[in-house]
Subunit: 145 residues, 2 copies
DNA sequence: ATAGAACTTCAAGTTCACTTGAAGTCAAGG
DNA sequence: CCTTGACTTCAAGTGAACTTGAAGTTCTAT
């Protein structure tokens, strides 16, 4: 598969595929002329990367995860399952954080304490719980606030 | 209040406060010598910014939100409440997205379809649902995957 | 054989939310 | 008055995840 075909199938730009290769996330064979040719297997790899990003992982995290795939053989279904399963705790944790924030926001709307030290929302030390870099763009325009 | 005191109270760097001022998010008076002096009210404003970031808003979004505060008078408790309340839908939406992803991940772990078009996880058009830029750093090291 | 689309590399640019550095000025205590 | 720490501005740097541009090469269809 050429890079253009891959890009189309995966829904991203050719530049992104080249970038992923530079970053050691995917691999390709080359024609005599030096053009990239992708194995079918790579589609799955890219799919994994895309979903992992949605979960909130950085490319560094993802590279680490992918490095845990078997190196000799083509990864099997259960290899991928094992990797995907490892997202659960991250995802659950992220959801819990947001729910916590929502609930605290609820009480703070009630008490109007937004600037009080006592308020859990305004405790700088707790502010480590942000949500992660993830891809650059939000939900459309995010102009809700 | 000096910029150093503000920075300490708000738990961020002085450079961040200067940056927020350049960006039109906060304001300050100046001494004869040209140093910044902050009104108490600004603490609340900074608190709002910090919480809004945790909710996932960009500084641009936050600037827009802040511009809806009354310009003549010092904002009241209910002015702040009105603003904070507007976060609810965003937050709820974000939580729903993550839950959806978690559930789909669940079924995909079951079916192993990670690369199939049919799988909701691998539908490039649905991938608009990412989670937002937010602040740069994640939960510690995020090395869960 | 050749047009033209698709590919190649490499360097530099983009956005966000800041930080860092340089070079200099102000304010408060002794 | 003088030291010292805190402040000032302005320009440039950071990191993540790519994109864009330039200049050139390859592939494929006619």
């Amino acid at each position: 598969m050429t890079i253009g075909e891959m890009a189309e199938r995966c829904g991203l730009a050719t530049s992104a595929l080249r970038f992923y290769e530079d970053e050691g996330l995917i691999d390709s064979a080359r024609t005599n002329g030096g053009q990239r040719r992708y194995a079918r297997e790579v589609i799955r790899r890219v799919a994994f990367i895309q979903v992992a990003q949605t979960v909130g992982l950085s490319l560094t995290d993802i590279r680490a995860a992918l490095s845990r795939l078997p190196n000799g053989r083509t990864p099997t279904k259960s290899d991928w399952q094992r990797l995907s399963r490892s997202w659960r705790p991250t995802l659950d944790g992220r959801i819990r954080e947001l729910e916590l924030l929502r609930d605290e926001l609820e009480s703070c709307i009630g008490c109007g304490c937004l600037s009080l030290k006592a308020c859990a929302l305004y405790n700088p030390d707790d502010r480590a719980s942000r949500f992660g870099p993830g891809p650059r763009y939000l939900l459309g325009d995010s102009s809700t606030a």
